[in-house]
Amino acid sequence: MQDFVLAALKPRLTIFAEAWLAAGATGYGIWEDGRLLAQWPVGPSEPYDGRSAVTMPIHTNSATSLELCVTGTRDTAAQGRLKGEAALIADLIHLEGELDEMTTRLIETQDQLLALYDLTHAARSHLSMQDALNSLAWESSRLLRTDSAFAIVRMPDGAPIIAQQPVPYLSNAQAGALFHRVQAGQQDLLTSLSLENTDDAVASAQASLFIMPILVRSQVMAALGLLNKTGKPFTSPDMKLARAIAEQGGAQIENALLLQETLAQARVQTEMELAQRVQLRLLPQRLPRVPGLELAARSRPALQVGGDFYDFIGGAGRPLTFAVGDVSGKGMGAALVMSMMHTALHGISRLASLTPAAIAEQANEQLYDDFTEVGAFATMFVGQYDSAARLLNYANAGHSPVIYCPEGGAARLLGADGTPIGVLPISLCRDQCLQFRPGDLLIAATDGFSEAQNITGEMFGYERLLQLTESLVALSAPEVLNALFAAVETFSAGHPQDDDQTVVVLKGVSA
């Protein structure tokens, strides 16, 4: 019987002993395998004399034999009484064993919780993934009292990050290979390994290792390994605690990932905001005043930046020349290509007074190689207004929708006769011309209008645009602009804006 069990039983045994002594017995004792464990009254032990003693075995699951013994009594009832006491003592021994088992489990759980608390506490201040892994490896080694621990993460971009604390015993290749094994097997690995990466003379040829996969975002993205260089095995409670630490480590790794992604997004957001400001500056800051014309223009990108553009080019003494265009794609890529178009158009307009088709041809010539390189193209409508003759000259490099509505007449699309900029090495655009009188309306928009969808997936479409144009022909250019945007917004309510929306409105007015 273990000492602490005897110590727990002593108060009850003392009560029984005192009752026996009060009834005239000379001694009361408990024996194990013929050896006296405790006796009352306390004093030098009397030799065991079976003739003057009543004994009773205490039946337990133990391999040793326990018995109670009362000396100095021959009471016929003594046997029965002692039998009852023996049974009670047996039950108490059994309960003490169960209590000890529960205490052991309680200690295990307490140790686990305290370890996880320490781990969480240590991880609070870590910002980078490397710091988080260093902390995880360090705390794991400390809490589990191993010679070393390593933590490895395979980042979303495929790059591995490894931490070994307090001493790196494994080479990166070894750590990587072990990670692959648990990642493939999706379960813990208990193994031994010869250490390559140590000058430690004490380290044995075979270190014992326990490696656990760590789930991050439902995938085995990481692993935690424990190493005993002397080959000391891992106990079951150690492995249980290690698994709890690994699971906690998964949460820390996920937090570090989220932080990295949030910082990256914040950087991108800052750059996007800058790009948006730059792009807004590239668009015309004011509308030119042109005799006989009322102008309105607006661009609304689908994302912070977009590929639509409009511009008023040319200079004093030249007819108003404007361009509306749509670069393939959306977002930052399209915005960068849009800035190339802007630069090309402004450069071209400085050279000479060119017709719309010539402008399209020059733009294509300058941009074809670059656009081909990046896989981009741009549709473009170039218009040029001759105030004196009230003529609108235009060239259409693959752009739509451009709608012309004469006062009192039907709206019609001005179709493209050339391919978009960057599609072919030569421009096929021709100069075209139409009379543009007071009351006439021209809407040069991008397909973000015609292709705007509602929540059922139906597109705004050309028909709707043409009908809308006819209904707006009496309004001023700014009113037409606002009505266009309002109509498309109403139509596509509940559906996100998929594409950039840009429009230039020309309204003929009396000079």
Binding site: I107, D111, L143
Partner: protein, 122 residues
Amino acid sequence: MTTILVVDDDPVAQRVLGAQLRKAGYIPAAARSGQEALRNLAQIPCDLAILDIGLPDMDGLSFLRILRADADHKTMPVIVLTASGRDDSYTEAKAAGANGFLRKPASSNELIETVSQLLRPA
């Protein structure tokens, strides 16, 4: 065999500390009050004491001062246990003569490391 006196009136704490010490190979001796601890120390030679600050008959630090005034136990290593989160608990314990300080609950590793460090020959 190294005997460690655990002075704590909480029976659960006694069991847990006793089991943690036994697992590490030490023999725990229990006392549930300061008076009982003084009686036990007179009868059983103990190598170290773990003392809960909150005892029923006298506070742990008063018991510690009595111990330090006794020639036989002046230099016995004593670890003070407290559930308090106050930083000045440590300072007070040190001033009363404590050699180590642990916050409850103490992990097995932390307890055994503290005990073995104090029992190491100087």
